[in-house]
Amino acid sequence: MISIHHYLLLSAILFSIGCFGVLTRKNAIVIFMCIELMLNSVNLTFIALSRHVGNMDGQIFVFFVMTVAAAEAAVGLALMIAFYRNKESIEVDNFNMLKW
């Protein structure tokens, strides 16, 4: 039987990799995918702990995280298309229109 610590450590590793990607990449879509990766590692934590303590609430929470991720994907990608129309690029260095 795999202990709970293995799952928690694995999701910590995945979260750190996602965090590394968000901090280092310039392409907005790749950053977006790294955020999805972080959300998924949190989902793994929720399900592992839910199984460990024998309670269903964590898995319901994963359901809502997936809902929010789907909504975020729709709105975020629409924002990127709108941005690409204006700037012909989705590098995050060009996201400076609100800078004073």
Binding site: L10, A12, L23, E36
Partner: protein, 167 residues
């Protein structure tokens, strides 16, 4: 047997997650991300949550990744130019490593105790995982469920408004 499967899947998940951040072409990153999602679905099955595994494959590896790949192809993004190892990259790596060590420390420090073992694996086999999820969702979590439906409606309207040329 189970631990061999766990370690194999974990290695695949970690390497494909790493290549999400390292591939220069966004399409390759997206395909690596799909691999990671499939590995996570395997973990959900091992944790006796088959419904969550199905949802993971259908919603994440299916719908969301199709949306992302669709946008990558629509914008016709090429590969990024080869970036040098900058200070920002080193700082990102150090921050991620610090976060990993801190989470590892806190994971090892305490022990999660049960809240009375309400759901056992015998119950999951007897009633089915989907039924248990459905019971919890439509009794205790009915209000969040309705709020989630409103959130999805708002997201649809927002996506349409944002990508229209003239409102």
């Amino acid at each position: 047997m189970e631990s061999i499967l766990f370690y194999l899947t974990a290695v695949v998940a970690i390497f494909s997650a790493f290549f999400v951040t390292k591939c220069r072409n966004p399409v390759n990153s997206a395909l690596c991300l799909v691999t990671t999602f499939l590995c996570l679905a395997v973990f959900y099955v091992m944790l006796e949550a088959p419904f969550m595994a199905a949802i993971q494959i259908m919603v994440y590896a299916g719908a969301i990744m199709v949306l992302i790949i669709f946008v990558i192809m629509l914008l016709n993004l090429g590969s990024a130019v080869k970036s040098r190892t900058t200070h920002g990259m080193a700082a990102g790596g150090i921050l991620a490593a610090i976060m990993l060590f801190l989470t590892n420390y806190f994971i090892r420090r305490g022990d999660a105790t049960g809240v009375g073992e309400e759901i056992t694996s015998h119950m999951i086999k007897q009633y089915g995982h989907t039924e248990l999820i459905g019971k919890a969702m439509f009794t205790d979590f009915l209000l969040p469920f309705e709020i989630a439906s409103i959130l999805l409606l708002v997201a649809i309207v927002g996506a349409v408004v944002l990508s229209k040329r003239k409102v």
